[in-house]
Each structure stands twice: as structure tokens, then as C-alpha cells.
Amino acid sequence: MIMYSDDKIKKLLQVAMEETPPGFTSNVMNRVEAMKYSAASQPLVSKKVKVAFLVTFLLLVTIIVVIAALTMKDSITITLPKLSGRDFYSFSLSIVGFWILVGLNRLLTNPFTNQPSM
């Protein structure tokens, strides 16, 4: 009856430990040296810093826009041209046309309608 002891199996496996071919380490180091300037160092900006930059940028833009809107309210006067009924009609028609085209496009590219028949 053979006992399956952990120590014995460990010894057996250690006997069969594989060895890398000669020159293995130098081959790895050559490849490492070749790429050391491109990959070994940590990226200059981590993901967290990137997100922080983006949030700060958006916040700054929002603040500037709000301040500008509050302070420039009286100084800028926009005079809108008077639109005739015909202008309004063509304007509404172009919007409706645009959305019809968008709807058609979505319908035609819908994956459920594009599935091949069995």
C-alpha cells in the first residue's frame, strides 16, 4: 500500500525540476534592455490624475461660463431677425426631415432587423 504523503511527492517533483537552457537570463535581459525606456517606468500620469485633471477642467469651464453669463448679460444684446411664417415652416420642415432620416438610419442599422434568416 503506497502512502501519498505531501513530502514524498514534493521530493519526487523536485527531482524532475526543469532547468532553463543556457543563456536564458541573458536573452530575457536583452529583451528587457531593448524595451526599458518604453515600458519599465510608471506612466507619467496615472488614471486617477487623468480623471482629476478632467474634472478640474470641466469645473473651471463651468465656472467661467457661469461668471461670463452673469457679468456679460447686460453688455451683449443680441438682435434676432424677425422670421416670417414661411421661414418658420421651412425651419420646422428641416427639423422634421432630419429626425425622419435619423429614425430611418437607426431602423436600418438595428442589429435585430439585420440578423440573417435561419
Partner: protein
């Protein structure tokens, strides 16, 4: 001690002294190679995969978290790289049995006496060959790479209960195979 020493080496590498990385390669190359070889059963492929894994580990060394062992992290890279290659090989319909025979085909016909260390190694390798892929992986990680069952579970995704079954079955198979191959000579090995 090794863990601390690994961390010191890693710090130096990250500070720009890349030549020190050779210390880690030297320290883990045989373990890494054995692990890859036991998965893929081909020396050339295993060597290439382990080289790739060491280079990958170097490239992403900055992301290595100091709360785990470098060896465990490296083994994870090796297992993933090797299993991916293994899957691709299977997709390409390569006959793994034929590859295994490439190294060990003549062993079974050799006389079963007067074993040198090299011959012992051959027979143990042959016994390892008789294991299934997951058995080989678990046996190697657990006994040779000295990972805990929990670590093997994290690394391979195989459930803890399944790992225990695979280890038990693997041990049993190795002994049965060796017993069949070596008969009375086996007791001299251990």
C-alpha cells in the same frame, strides 16, 4: 527573506537600475520554466512563453502591488500566458500527445534498473505527463511553486474543493504511474 529581497530588487528596477532585474530572472527561471513546461509539455514553447512572461512582468512591474508575493504575481502571468497559448494550440489542432512523445517516447523501453539522477528525472517526468492538464497545473503550483490551495484557486479560477480533488487524484496517478514504470526501484527514489 526572499520576499523582502524581491521587493528591494523591484524598487531598484523601478528607480531605473534595470540590470538588477536579472536577479529576479535568475531566482525564478527554473520554477517558472517548470510551471510552463508542465502546462504546455513542450520545451521550446515553454522557454519562449517564460521569456515572454518575464518581459511582460518587467513591463508592468510598476503595477505590482506590494501586498502580494512577486513569485505569485509572476506565476499568474505565466499561467495566463501559457494557457492562452495552449488554447490557441488546441484551436490549431496540434496533437499534444504527439508532442509529449517527442521527449519521452523512448523511455518506456529502457531497462528499469541502475537509475541515474537523469533517469529518475525522466521517469518522474513521464509520470507527470500522465496527468490531466488541470492536475499538472495544480500539482506544480501547489508542490513545486509552493502556493497554498487558496492561492492556486485565485490564480487558476478552479474551485478549492476541485483543487483538493485534483491534488489527491494527481498524487495517486503519479505514484501509480511510477509504480508501474519502476516497480521495486521506486522506493530508491524517495
Amino acid at each position: 527573506m526572499t520576499d523582502q529581497s524581491d521587493l528591494l530588487v523591484i524598487e531598484k528596477v523601478l528607480q531605473g537600475d534595470t540590470a538588477v532585474y536579472a536577479v529576479l530572472v535568475e531566482r525564478y527561471r527554473n520554477m517558472a520554466f517548470t510551471l510552463a513546461y508542465h502546462i504546455i509539455l513542450n520545451r521550446e514553447d515553454a522557454e519562449e512563453l517564460v521569456q515572454d512572461s518575464f518581459v511582460k512582468a518587467f513591463a508592468s512591474l510598476w503595477s505590482f502591488k506590494r501586498n502580494s508575493k512577486f513569485s505569485t504575481w509572476l506565476y499568474r502571468i505565466i499561467v495566463n500566458t501559457t494557457l492562452n497559448k495552449q488554447r490557441l494550440k488546441k484551436l490549431n489542432m496540434v496533437d499534444m500527445d504527439a508532442t509529449a512523445d517527442e521527449d519521452f517516447g523512448s523511455v518506456a523501453s529502457e531497462p528499469l534498473f541502475n537509475f541515474t539522477r537523469d533517469e529518475q528525472r525522466k521517469y518522474i517526468r513521464l509520470a507527470i505527463q500522465s496527468l490531466g492538464e488541470n492536475e499538472r497545473l495544480c500539482i506544480t503550483l501547489y508542490y513545486l511553486n509552493e502556493l497554498s490551495v487558496e492561492e492556486v484557486n485565485q490564480l487558476t479560477g478552479i474551485s478549492i474543493s476541485n483543487i483538493k480533488v485534483l491534488l489527491h487524484r494527481g498524487r495517486k496517478k503519479i505514484y501509480s504511474e511510477l509504480k508501474a514504470l519502476l516497480k521495486d526501484e521506486m522506493k530508491n527514489l524517495i
